[in-house]
Symmetry: C3
Subunit: 454 residues, 3 copies
């Protein structure tokens, strides 16, 4: 064991962490005016905790979906990337992202100054308040910790979207470096424009739980990566698309179901309040619409693949359900159940139509993440105008502005980061490694050593 690495590593880690640990926790005690207000506060916080663990579980859902859709020789790598990306997102969102996205002062890069490094501004890490009643920093909302854990999961989901699209040929560490930039900086920046009270929010852009803010953002980062990275060897050859079937469709189906489950937290928790009859009725409505859109997306893909290709296509059905979920995410509250069905079904239709389209453009998106999260996300964001959104004021121009701003910015920034990574450390494994499989070539560990043939 090369213990010689241990000491310098520890020193670097300590130096990096010292300031964050030395900070005093400057919680100001608050008073919650009445028992009723306290009950509301508990319900609101509980909503974030339940939503938080449900959306957390989506990390497993993404891992299983992607692990099932890649070939068996790349499964260990896909698992490593998914555990790694979630863990790095959790750290980066604490270290930078949360305060960049929800600055206590101004909403954008400039912010309030405090702590050891006054110049840090909004880039300082998150502090949770002291233990106990004094912890509540916003008597009219919820506990900071519950808000943090809930919002963190959205940030991590953005990165999970990227990992599927770029599977089977990307190097581990450059991918994880990109995740650090995405979850620490890019997502918090663009998300702050809407959820941090930024210019999109002020302009009236409406995206309830993140069809664009989360899903299309992740898809834009994935698209940039897929372009810079290039398709898998042999995927597009002699003008033909060479299918590379996923190695475990039971696992992929499990992943889809876990994501569907997590989406109840994703959309339901985005109500941000559960302390009144009206709020819990809204959450119930959100649950019902979310479920309906997923069902409609799945059925649409089931019927359409049967009609188009003469055979129902399970991977399309899985992606259809997910596209239905992404589509309803921008506005899961205002639609009737019938409209939620239509919105979700169109999401499923979009996936069936655009997965082949990407292949025509020779953009190799291994799991269909760009159609599911990107195209269906854009559709869902536009579909808000069908109801006007829960505020009743969403208009097409503002919706398009939000899409262009977030997708465009994420795409351009991601393109730059991917390009820098490409020309510096390189982002793609060698041809031999790709053909052999990343598991043995890069990690020396097969996912299914007892099963795999040849």
């Amino acid at each position: 064991m090369k213990t010689k690495y241990l000491l310098p590593l520890a020193a670097v880690a300590t130096a990096a962490l010292l300031p964050t640990m030395g900070f005093a926790q400057e919680a100001e005690a608050i008073e919650i005016p009445s028992v009723t207000d306290e009950v509301v506060w508990i319900f609101n916080s509980l909503l974030f905790l339940i939503g938080g663990f449900l959306v957390f579980f989506m990390a497993a859902g993404f891992a299983m979906l992607e692990g099932g859709l890649v070939r068996s020789k790349n499964v260990t790598m896909q698992m490593t990337k998914n555990v790694g990306l979630f863990s790095l997102a959790a750290i980066m969102y604490w270290l930078v992202g949360y305060n960049l996205m929800y600055p206590l002062g101004d909403w954008a890069i400039e912010g309030y100054f405090s702590g050891l490094f006054p110049s840090w501004g909004v880039l300082e890490p998150v502090y949770l308040n002291d233990m106990g009643l004094e912890a509540a920093d916003d008597a009219g909302y919820a506990s900071t910790g519950s808000d943090f854990i809930f919002q963190l999961m959205f940030c991590a989901a953005t990165a999970s979207i990227v990992s599927g699209a770029l599977a089977e040929r990307i190097k581990l560490w450059p991918f994880l470096i990109f995740v650090i930039v995405l979850t620490g900086f890019i997502y918090p920046l663009t998300a702050s424009w809407q959820w941090g009270g930024g210019f999109l929010s002020e302009a009236g852009f409406s995206d309830f739980a993140g069809s664009t803010v989360v899903h299309a953002c992740g898809a834009a980062a994935a698209l940039a990566g897929a372009i810079v990275l290039g398709p898998r060897l042999g995927k597009y050859k002699d003008g033909k698309v060479n299918p590379m079937p996923g190695s475990n469709l039971a696992l992929a189906t499990l992943g889809m179901f876990i994501l569907w489950l997590g989406w109840f937290g994703f959309n339901g928790g985005s109500q941000l309040a559960m302390g009144s009859a009206g709020d819990v009725a809204d959450i119930s409505r959100i649950f019902s619409n979310t479920n309906m859109a997923a069902a409609a997306g799945a059925v649409a893909a089931l019927v359409l693949t049967q009609l188009f290709y003469g055979k129902a296509d399970l991977t399309m059905v899985l992606n259809g359900a997910l596209a239905g979920l992404v589509s309803i995410t921008a506005e899961p509250l205002a639609p009737s159940l019938g409209l939620a069905l239509v919105i979700g079904a169109i999401g499923g239709l979009i996936v069936v139509l655009t997965v082949p389209l990407l292949d025509k453009l020779k953009i190799d998106d291994v799991v269909g993440a760009i159609p599911v999260h990107g195209f269906a996300g854009i559709w869902g964001t536009i579909a808000v105008v069908l109801t006007g959104g829960y505020h009743g004021e969403a208009v097409i121009g503002t919706q398009l502005l939000g899409i262009v701003a977030i997708v465009g910015t994420t795409f351009v920034l991601s393109l730059i980061v991917w390009f820098i990574l490409k020309v510096t450390v390189g982002i793609r494994v060698s041809e031999e490694a790709e053909l052999q499989g990343l598991d043995t070539a890069e990690l020396g560990m097969e996912a299914y050593p007892d099963f795999t043939k040849g």
Copy 2:
């Protein structure tokens, strides 16, 4: 791509959906009398939301259990059927089922008239109320949306039971058509006799969370299908039962655990209220009894297979746990923990005894769904008389009446539907397709393309 299908399809879909989307949402604003009542209302609705997502996850549990118990050549088909059936159930229960089961007016086929088609009566789709506080349509109960999402999951579970029994030889689309009839009409009809305030409810039939209403109903539909469909090729040959072992027992075990998890919501949520100390104490008791019955069913199957066959049998243990759960479902509240253990253990015993029995009758139930959900469900419904049920009034005669009415009606109606499907579109794949495996023959997609031998 055969885009020529798109236009007519869209036209049909629009025509079908237009009336449901044109309906006004005629919510009447309610007033919740006091803060205390509002808190109760929130707790009740929250119970349905938590119960709803737990029971939703049972769809994944069924899929994994069944996917693990079929041979690898039929796994893609099993996944497709399970995603499809849940999605169709979600749509049908909205379009017809919920209002058929819980009509706002009378309980049965005739009902109140409203909307575009006055003649629809109870067959009209569900409308959730408006957003916000006005949404509460029953100030003494819970939000309509939370009740809808919770009840929907029970309807879908009924269909999941069927898919396992008929695996490995049924065609996809006829199966899904049956699901449409079952979830839209048969289950809502028979369930309304008990939970919609119908004649069984009035007669004093007691079935807390659905040992008969859900599980035996699903098993009856499965039994009818298994009879009409016939056994798998080679299953019963020369008087011998030819074992066809499941392809992934780890997955099947996961499915069982997910179902066990979901059952906390299934039985706990069926308390239908969480806004008082008494209600939450009851839910806690239900959790404890449910867990105990599952444990006892598993241990019973473990011990009995060791005694009978000299070897513990994992698939029996999994089904034993599930049979324990089904057995306690008719009355998870009234028994002591000791009695819950006995009820669950007898459930496990029933599975061990009746799985071979079905084989003797040459009824080919691939995953053991009929013993688990049918026989154990009937046992659980009868076992209510051991405590008298939570109302203390259950008697054997009424319990048998309920079983006969629901199981008998479901069986006869299902038999008719299966028979019609058989003589019209046909329900069984060709011999070649069955031998080759449904995944490649019917869907052109293997579940484990890298692993499967031969």
Copy 3:
């Protein structure tokens, strides 16, 4: 079928259960003083119910983790053991454990006398109170049923830890007998010293959710078993460690994610109250710290295996995340997020360093349970002194006393039980069975009959 076994078996079962079912339920009706107190009581009970189902799901997490890390020829056995151990734990904790751990009278072996067998004392089974409001036996805490189901899951987790370490060579029934002793007696005894108000609690030992009480206890039982049982054939040969790679790393990753999910309930529920703003703020903080420690453990293992071995090691990353979780479990409330990161990262470091160490000692721990739950558990218990714990009074001496008392006692008692089992019924399968694989040799059932090679 050997039905001759049925009658005597039923007779024994009835005799054993009769007293437990004959007991009257001597619930005393309580009064909850005010509406506010009732709401608090509901929130507290709800916390245990949510925590309960989350920690329940950890049983699936352990099963999948272990099932993924053993070779394919032993997967059916691993599944059988995990379903069996959870089920037996559920029964034993009811029959003996809970009242041994939380006696209504004195905390230790001697206790109050009641029921049919006055001599049973604290060894009598658990009775839940009557249905309804009267059920509440402690107006200032929560429903008995919710406390029971929550605490039961901790007991079962202890046994799950053992099953992984001893995989691939232990006989089924001796293992299950050990589980009966561990969950019925050993764990409840040592846990009562802390959580039952025993001498460790009085001495000021601080272990919030069980880094030592649960995890190191389970690891100590596993270590004793691993020593008595000996390593797998061929594991240590000619001074070399022969790697025996796990058969399904996707499944193992799923197991890790499920455990991470469950840990929100494990640590969050251990706040034991959710009925005030301060409590829910604390739970939120616990969620955030728990997540951070897991992420840090995973990243630490990822970075360290890359540095030490030149390749990221997925199994180490999975165990690193789990070690982070175990490490923060003794005190998930008091640390800042930065300190939680450090505590979790050191947990990950410990796993990377000590997994090879155990191999040097020729102690064969198949899944790394002893490093993860034992060494990281001890580290986490010591790390409480960094903050002083939530009471601010934890000191190193008392922490060490608690570790020595619980780990030492569990180890010695387990060693005795394992030794008795070894010299009586034998605990190890034959060499032939081990080489052939336990699934076919012991159970006659392959987990993956369609895949496995050779």
